[in-house]
């Protein structure tokens, strides 16, 4: 929960609510990007890597940092748990 996971922003889905789609280890989900948005059009975030915490992009990171962080999270078993929690939440909403 506290460690988060790196994801790359691939699409802006709701500019008013500051929502975007991120790709995390091949899994896509919607996140809120308000916390990393600076004085710029929201579309400028596409392609940006960020640490994602419980559905919120919290800190921009570079691609190298993203890869290193993912390695650690995999070794801690947190990456798998995070992806599983995302998928389970999506299934719950769909049911």
């Amino acid at each position: 929960m506290c460690l988060g996971i790196p994801g790359r922003i691939v699409e802006i889905t709701d500019a008013r609510r500051k929502l975007a789609t991120v790709e995390v280890m091949g899994v896509r989900r919607q996140v809120n990007v308000a916390c990393i948005l600076k004085d710029e059009p929201i579309e400028a975030l596409i392609g940006t890597w960020s640490l994602i915490h419980v559905g919120f992009a919290m800190s921009r990171i570079n691609e190298e940092e993203a890869a290193l962080t993912l390695d650690v999270l995999r070794q801690l078993g947190e990456a798998q748990a995070e992806i599983e929690a995302m998928k389970a939440s999506e299934r719950m909403l769909a049911s």
Binding site: C2, L37, V54, L68, V72, E90, L93
Partner: protein
């Protein structure tokens, strides 16, 4: 498992480990009279055990595992109140999976779910808000917990609910803050700590200035650290060097993610939605002044405590822990997890008695999981 696979830069790791051994020696710390460094964050605790860093560092350096696992410090009375809300007709309680197995006095959320309460695990408070949109006839409550890292997520979700006029959604707020329990630990007359490894992602939100009091008022070093094993080792070395040099400063080893002033959008959202409670109860530590957040009256329509008449000041608070549970002594560094008579017997990750056994970030669960599987064996 081998050393080269575990560290992305094994040569650098060996160098830092050698420096840690040298500085520990220069301080004069020994197995009998060790230097005590507390890692505050539960994620750091998990990483220290996963990589066996406590075994790679010299015996004169002892890690004390801090109160930085939000699930672990959640008092039983708050679980009881959460169950009470979940059992109301029409309620869907939503929570992070971590909180499901935390024992309450009466039952855990997982037991309440088995008994018929509608309790669902969500990845994000945004999913709880979406559930409220899809079930306008139900009351959807989100069990909001966590330190400063997750507080902005519920603050922004409440702001979104307010903007959308989504009134069948509320948050049962249990957000807590890092600095007050650190102050409480430093004020403890039995305190043995010599320095701190500061939390990475909490600091990403609040910055490093809220730790100034640790250096200024208590004369203790603190270094904010990242989560890679090399980050942790470098941070420990920085703390040790401060101790050796007689310095007490706030240093930031994780500046690639942690700005000194934190994240301004997050800080503003939290200040808009939340205010400090006069005090909040921590499992194992008791009541600590201004250590918990509550929802401001302006957002009372999204405050589950107001909506359901449950919470602080609404009933007697039972503060007793389960019989024989010594989580409090573990959290203050008085005993090690395996010194607790319940460890691995009445208390296991499958059937936790105390909260430190519940989450992978809890010191007892980490001891249990990694006790026999250490990096040193591969060296």
């Amino acid at each position: 498992m081998n050393y080269a696979d575990e560290f992305r830069d094994p040569i650098a790791a060996r160098g830092v480990l050698a420096a840690i051994a040298r500085v520990t020696d220069e301080i004069g710390a020994t197995r009998e009279k060790p230097v005590h460094i507390m890692e505050i964050c539960g994620g750091h605790t998990h990483a220290i055990f996963r990589y066996g860093l406590d075994k790679l560092t010299p015996p004169g350096l002892e890690f004390i595992h801090g109160p930085g696992c939000p699930v672990c410090v959640l008092p039983m009375s708050r679980i009881d109140e959460c169950v009470e809300i979940a059992e109301r007709p029409g309620v869907i309680m939503t929570t992070f999976g971590d909180a499901m197995r935390v024992p309450g006095h009466r039952k855990s959320l997982i037991q309440a779910n088995a008994d018929g309460a509608d309790i669902r695990m969500v990845y994000s408070p945004l999913d709880a808000l979406e559930l409220a949109r899809r079930h306008p006839d139900r009351e959807v409550v989100f069990f909001g917990l966590g330190f400063e890292t997750t507080t902005p997520s519920t603050a922004l979700t409440i702001l979104q609910a307010a903007a959308d006029g989504q009134t069948n959604f509320s948050v049962f707020c249990n957000h807590i803050t890092v600095p007050p329990p650190i102050k409480a630990l430093l004020d403890d007359p039995h305190m043995i700590l010599d320095g701190f490894v500061g939390p990475g992602h909490v600091s990403m939100v609040i910055g490093v200035r809220p730790y100034d009091f640790i250096a200024r008022d208590y004369g203790k070093p603190i270094v904010v650290a990242g989560f890679e094993p090399l980050d942790l080792l470098q941070s420990v070395l920085m703390v040790l060097e401060q101790i050796r040099d007689g310095r007490a400063e706030v240093e930031n080893q994780y500046s690639r993610v942690v700005p000194d002033d934190g994240n301004p959008v997050s800080i503003a959202a939290c200040a808009e939605v939340y205010e400090p409670r006069p005090s909040f109860e921590w499992r194992g530590l008791g009541e600590i002044d201004a250590s918990g957040m509550r929802i401001r009256p302006a957002y009372a329509a999204w405050d589950a405590e107001v909506k359901f008449g449950v919470g602080y000041g609404k009933g007697p608070r039972l503060v007793a822990e389960p019989d024989g549970c010594r989580c409090g002594d573990v959290m203050t560094g008085r005993i090690k997890p395996h010194s607790c008579p319940q460890f691995g017997k009445r208390c296991t990750p499958e059937m936790p008695l105390g909260a430190l056994m519940v989450s992978s970030e809890g010191a007892c669960a980490a001891y249990y999981q990694y006790g026999g599987l250490r990096l040193e064996e591969a060296l």
